[in-house]
């Protein structure tokens, strides 16, 4: 619930370009040209390109973690050594290399962020589309979404994660279960603009089944919103994971950026050995800023008015 509102078109705004261009009428496949136009506009935006580059780089670091640094474990000799040639990001209170922690932390942070976000997107899209398409369901689903959005989510996540026991799968499920209402909200409001469109009515008239209409006509209409949502939900999931891990609910058997901060807090080196907190913090900031700017750039490129 941070940037989404500033980025999402209000419901009832101009018809989404992709929806207007859904290849229903046959003939030209206009969606392809929309994609190409979007890509060409995106290519001219340096901020978007840099963000995409940063994300690709972080993804590569996550994939190649074993090649970049040894898994940080055990004890080292240099305790709380500052950044230098031997340890680029310094060492923590047990002498473990912070650079290695950040590199391996990238893996867990991104995996948890992506997995939680994908799960949340699937649930959110299903609920959002169902609410927009089947009006009676909207009464119940809309209330559930509204109600869960107005509750403080982090304390609830903490309670559940503490009960279920800290592990990577727990984090993924807990974050997803409490993130989907946000997705459902934006998908529903976009869906409400798409469902009354003439081409959806036309699909009813020619006798299309509900499932077919949703798959072929409603889903493509909400797809651009979903694309933005994937990016934003991922960055929010990364922040949630960092928050839970910072509070001590991270997977005890693996490193994530939040876990590094948790260890620094627990050992009391938080405020004195600045390198134990600066580098994981920068990693979080880099990932979240890059995802947000990517979403902004994609949105601008997609919208003909800002293209």
């Amino acid at each position: 619930m941070t940037t989404t509102d500033a980025l999402m078109p209000p419901p009832g705004d101009a018809p989404p370009p992709a929806a207007a261009a859904t290849p229903t009428a046959g003939g030209l496949p206009p969606s392809e040209s929309v994609a190409r136009q979007t890509w060409q506009a995106f290519r001219r935006n340096p901020l978007g390109l840099v963000s995409a580059g940063v994300l690709i780089l972080l993804g590569l670091v996550a994939l190649a973690a074993p090649l970049i640094a040894d898994y940080p474990s055990g004890y080292g000799e240099d305790v709380l050594a500052g950044p230098g040639a031997g340890h680029w990001f310094g060492t923590d209170d047990l002498g473990r290399d912070v650079f290695a922690q950040v590199v391996w932390g990238t893996r867990v942070s991104i995996v948890v962020g992506l997995a939680a976000s994908l799960l949340a997107i699937v649930i959110g899209v299903l609920v959002g589309v169902a609410a927009a398409y089947f009006r009676p369901a909207d009464l119940v689903l809309g209330v559930i979404v509204d109600v869960s959005l107005s509750l403080p989510v982090l304390p609830l996540m903490i309670l559940v994660a503490a009960l279920a026991g800290p592990s990577v799968p727990t984090l993924v499920v807990v974050i997803a279960v409490f993130s989907w209402p946000e997705v459902a909200r934006v998908v529903r409001s976009q869906g409400l603009a798409v469902v009354p469109m003439p081409y959806v009515s036309a699909a009813h008239v020619i006798g299309g089944s509900h499932l077919w209409i949703i798959r072929k006509h409603v889903l493509p209409g909400v797809a651009p919103v979903v694309a933005v949502s994937v990016v934003l939900t991922t960055s929010r999931a990364v922040l949630s994971e960092a928050g839970l891990s910072f509070l001590g609910l991270g997977d005890p058997n693996s490193w994530s950026w939040g876990t590094i901060l948790h260890q620094a807090q627990r050992s009391g080196s938080l405020a004195t050995a600045w390198w134990t907190t600066l580098f994981p913090s920068l990693a979080i900031l880099l990932l979240v800023v890059a995802t947000t700017l990517l979403a902004v750039a994609y949105n601008d490129a997609r919208n003909p008015r800002t293209r």
């Binding site: 941070t2 940037t3 959005l149 509750l151 989510v153 304390p155 807090q265 938080l270 994981p280 902004v296």
Partner: protein, 321 residues
């Protein structure tokens, strides 16, 4: 029933429904999770008999529906259970903490809105200018900050390097009278600032876009055509309407604000409900965790109700809709 009374009743009902939802979700989450609630109080080494006794004591051997009913009545009586570790009613522990959280979150909200409005106006009136770009990038970056990171950074700079602000707690022990208020204010600065930095962006960006829309409306063109100075058009005409969606944003952001307060209090050892959560996590004190969530949910719902009612006062269309 007059429209106004109906509006208030509907909002009240909605608040009650939301609280019921929070309570019910908590109840069923606790019982349906893989972990047996008895495990939380029981030692793994205890005998089967002792475990059964314990379950009976806590009423965990009865049917789920009975337990649920019992749970609801207990909550209505203000019984949030007893802390595992402190052997004290959870409600007492948390009520002692709540004022600090309300102070922190409330002051952060006030400062955010007080800074957000002028910044949003500056950005909107200079749309696409350098200052506007700066404010936009700043807003996005602020939202992307991880609260513990910004907290540690501020602590390090102002508490350790410059040493001008206290590094934790809510007040000094040995001050009384007026000095106590001063101490409270000094201790509040850094936690409050951490929350403001993270919150500010969404207010500025929302106000910016609604204000740009409002400035393009006919009534603003008319006001300019009448010869009103631009400052008046912005502040007296456009801003009034642009502020309405911002009021909604307060309601939407409250849950997020409270989550931020939990992290902030953990960093600064600020003695609010969030710090109680932080301590309860390391001690696996589930009654405190559950009580803290319910209490924060209640606070958010009550604050939300107030924003809704304020919105109704500001915008007559909401009352009649």
């Amino acid at each position: 029933m007059p429209a106004g009374a109906r509006f208030v009743t509907r909002r009240l009902l909605r608040g009650v429904l939301t609280m019921w939802f929070a309570v019910t979700v908590t109840f069923f989450l606790l019982r349906l999770l893989p972990g047996d609630p008895a495990l939380a109080v029981a030692d793994p080494g205890m005998t089967e008999e002792l475990r059964a006794d314990l379950l009976r004591d806590y009423g965990l051997d009865r049917p789920l529906a009975v337990q649920y009913w019992e749970y609801l009545t207990q909550l209505l009586h203000g019984n949030l259970g007893v802390s595992f570790r402190q052997n004290q009613p959870v409600l007492d522990i948390l009520l002692e903490r709540l004022p600090w959280t309300l102070l922190l979150a409330g002051s952060a909200l006030v400062v955010t809105v007080a800074l957000g409005i002028p910044l949003g106006v500056v950005a909107a009136t200079r749309a696409k200018g350098t200052l506007d770009r700066l404010i936009q990038v700043g807003g996005i970056t602020g939202q992307s900050l991880f609260i513990p990171s910004i907290g540690v950074f501020l602590l390090y700079v102002f508490g350790v390097v410059f040493g001008i602000l206290p590094i934790g707690g809510a007040m000094d022990d040995d001050v009384y009278g007026l000095a106590a208020y001063g101490s409270i204010a000094l201790h509040l600065i850094l936690p409050c600032l951490s929350l403001v930095l993270v919150q500010l962006g969404s207010y500025v960006l929302t106000l910016r876009s609604t204000l740009i829309d409002a400035l393009g409306e006919d009534y603003c063109t008319l006001a300019r055509a009448k010869g009103l100075p631009n400052r008046k058009v912005v502040w007296r005409h456009a801003l009034r309407n642009a502020l309405l969606p911002t009021t909604t944003l307060v309601g939407l952001q409250l849950g997020f604000l409270v989550g931020g307060a939990v992290l902030t209090e953990s960093i600064y050892a600020y003695p609010g409900v969030g710090r109680a959560i932080f301590e309860a996590v390391s001690q696996l004190d589930f009654p405190v965790l559950q009580g803290a969530f319910l209490m924060l949910a209640f606070a958010v719902i009550a604050a939300n109700l107030l924003t809704d009612l304020a919105y109704g006062l500001l915008d007559p269309r909401v009352r009649t809709a």
